[in-house]
């Protein structure tokens, strides 16, 4: 029982990271109905930026804030320069551009920082808490996840800009008529996604260590979480991310072992897409033909 509880709790902690990645995916999906395949590499790149700042002598939280701000700006730049020109193109073209972005970010990070593994500091150092069930870092990650979710909720619920972004996502044409600059709202969505992804990268790097391919598995679990919770629903995505984290840990401990983690994610993704494509908390879309 103790072991089981331990697995569930540490699953919730890793699930927190998947939840943040899922949130970042939802930000872009809500605005554009696209799944950003480059999200993981964007987060990885941001984490390298944080590493550079910390290496240059900045205190951790200073580097954290700097990275989030810089990632936000980079996200907007990517939308404006790379994504905008294929805004109305078929899905295939957009997916190809996303994959191009993934490959470029991955190789540029490898080029600048080399492929050797680097260690990354945790803002929550130290031993275990809660009677040995969790490490301080895991508890901190959970706190950060809930903090990010709360901030986003407040932003979308109580600020005029948040309202405008929701409006632009739901009905671009009417929003344009009432004077919302829809194009910029999309760019802001990308900026937010990049910033949220940067948080995920900095939270996961102390666990998996920093290297250009560190986000591949995490992105896959983020996809699974977002799909399970419903990819157009931020709260659902967080719930999905946490659930996927627990599922991953339990299946790793009791079913298939750790060596097939990615296969578990594959089965989850295909399973959710086939059985319930809108996810647990998503809206069912009906297309008019």
């Amino acid at each position: 029982m103790e072991a089981f509880l331990h697995q569930v709790l540490s699953g919730l902690a890793t699930g927190g990271i998947y939840a943040i990645v899922a949130l970042a995916l939802v930000m872009i999906y809500q605005a554009t109905h696209l799944v950003n395949f480059a999200q993981g590499e964007m987060a990885m790149f941001s984490t390298y930026l944080a590493w550079t700042m910390i290496d240059a002598g900045l205190p951790y939280w200073g580097a954290f804030a700097g990275t989030v701000a810089l990632s936000f700006a980079l996200g907007i730049a990517i939308e404006r320069i790379v994504i905008r020109p294929v805004g109305n193109a078929p899905v295939l073209a957009v997916v190809i551009v996303f994959i191009g972005l993934l490959v470029i970010l991955n190789s540029v990070a490898g080029w600048i920082y080399t492929y050797t593994i680097k260690s990354f500091p945790s803002p929550f150092p130290g031993g275990s808490v809660l009677g040995g069930y969790l490490s301080r870092h895991e508890l901190g990650v959970m706190g950060v996840t809930l903090g990010v979710l709360l901030l986003l909720f407040l932003f979308f619920r109580f600020t005029p800009l948040g309202l405008a972004m929701r409006a632009a996502a739901q009905n671009p044409v009417s929003s344009r008529l009432v004077g919302i600059r829809v194009g910029w709202m999309l760019a802001l969505g990308w900026g937010l996604a990049a910033a949220i992804g940067a948080v995920a990268g900095m939270m996961v790097a102390p666990i998996v260590f920093l290297d250009p391919n560190m986000m591949a598995g995490i992105l896959l679990y983020g996809f699974a979480g977002a799909l399970l919770g419903g990819i157009d629903n931020p709260a659902g995505a967080v719930a999905g991310g946490l659930a996927v984290g627990v599922l991953e840990n339990l299946s790793g401990a009791y079913l298939v072992g750790t060596e097939l983690k990615l296969t578990v994610a594959l089965v989850l993704i295909v399973g959710v897409l086939v059985v319930r494509p809108s996810g647990l908390f998503g809206r069912v879309l009906v297309n008019r033909v």
Partner: protein, 324 residues
């Protein structure tokens, strides 16, 4: 005497090209011959992916998985059961036809983006699956399998590399012939109709579910045959050769070569075989940076790829003399 028609020009051009392809291994070093052989196997894989993604519009980011299945089927048959190398090619094709058809069934319910997601997951999971302990007795786990290079039969005066090149060329010709006949008629038109407007295609009486899953199977078969050929050429299979980046390489190949184009598969194969060799000299990361740039640049500037560019140039050349 009438001037030769466009079709006659085309046949003459293809014959000349074939003659050149047959002469190549006697003109270049054996290492280059080896590279060309491996480019031929890529060309078959690209043809398979192009049938699915280019013609039928189903996005696959996971065709590396089928390439891996083909390669492993060939390697295991040769290593465990001493099956002759040429017999592993149809075996790999059959296994992949089945695997592709099975994966295509759930994929039927997924459109565009979601299919891309599911196949992306497949590509990421493949190396781990191949390393799995449960399959280790066949796959050799992380170490992979080493296979022997075949000797030329009937005492032909060729070295091993040259023989493999001609073997690959024959397989490639057969596959291109098959693909051409498949795509030139009603089946090809049905695939394009499904890509362009599924509802209208269904209204015209095309069985979408059957066509889509059958296309997935046929596409996987082509890619699996390419994988088997690739394994025989490289004489080695290991899980880490079949990562997500192999699937992306194949995507780069069809995008640069030209979507929904037969000759595009050849251009794309030459690109993914030789550009990394050149770029490797700059940095380990350079080939991938170039791949990424080409992916995005092609979408903006050259959506029909090299094949489209060649076609447009040829059309311009053919038109210009008639101008007053």
């Amino acid at each position: 005497m009438t001037a030769p028609s466009a079709r006659q020009w085309k046949v003459a051009g293809l014959a000349l090209l074939l003659l050149f392809a047959c002469a190549l291994p006697f003109l270049v070093s054996s290492y280059r011959t080896f590279q060309l052989t491996s480019a031929l196997s890529y060309a078959i894989a690209l043809l398979g992916l192009n049938i699915l993604t280019g013609w039928n519009g189903q996005i696959s980011l996971g065709h590396g998985a089928f390439y891996a299945i083909g390669a492993y089927v060939a390697a295991i048959l040769m290593d465990r059961w001493d099956v002759p190398y040429w017999a592993t090619i149809p075996a790999a094709g059959l296994v992949c036809l089945g695997a592709g058809f099975l994966f295509g069934l759930p994929a039927l319910r997924l459109e565009g983006l979601y299919l891309a997601l599911a196949t992306f997951a497949l590509a990421l999971a493949t190396p781990q699956l191949l390393k799995s302990k449960h399959l280790e007795q066949w796959t050799g786990g992380v170490q992979g399998i080493v296979i022997m290079k075949p000797d030329p039969p009937f005492g032909l005066p060729l070295d091993q590399d040259q023989w493999l090149y001609f073997f690959a060329l024959a397989v490639a010709l057969a596959m291109f012939w098959l693909a051409r006949n498949l795509l030139a008629g009603r089946i090809g038109r049905a695939l394009v109709a499904i890509r362009e407007h599924p509802t209208a295609a269904e209204a015209m009486g095309i069985d979408i579910a059957f066509y889509k899953s059958a296309t997935f199977g046929v596409s996987a078969m082509f890619t699996g045959i390419a994988g088997a050929l690739g394994a025989i050429v490289i004489q080695f299979v290991a899980p880490d050769s079949f990562t997500l980046f192999l699937s992306i390489t194949l995507l780069v190949g069809i995008v640069v070569g030209g979507l929904a184009s037969l000759s595009g598969a050849v251009w794309g194969a030459l690109f993914i075989q030789f550009i990394p060799n050149v770029a490797d000299q700059i940095s380990k990361a350079a080939p991938w940076a170039i791949y990424g740039l080409f992916l995005i640049a092609c979408m903006y500037l050259m959506p029909t790829g090299v094949a489209g560019l060649v076609r447009a140039t040829a059309a311009r050349l053919a038109r210009s003399p008639r101008r007053p």
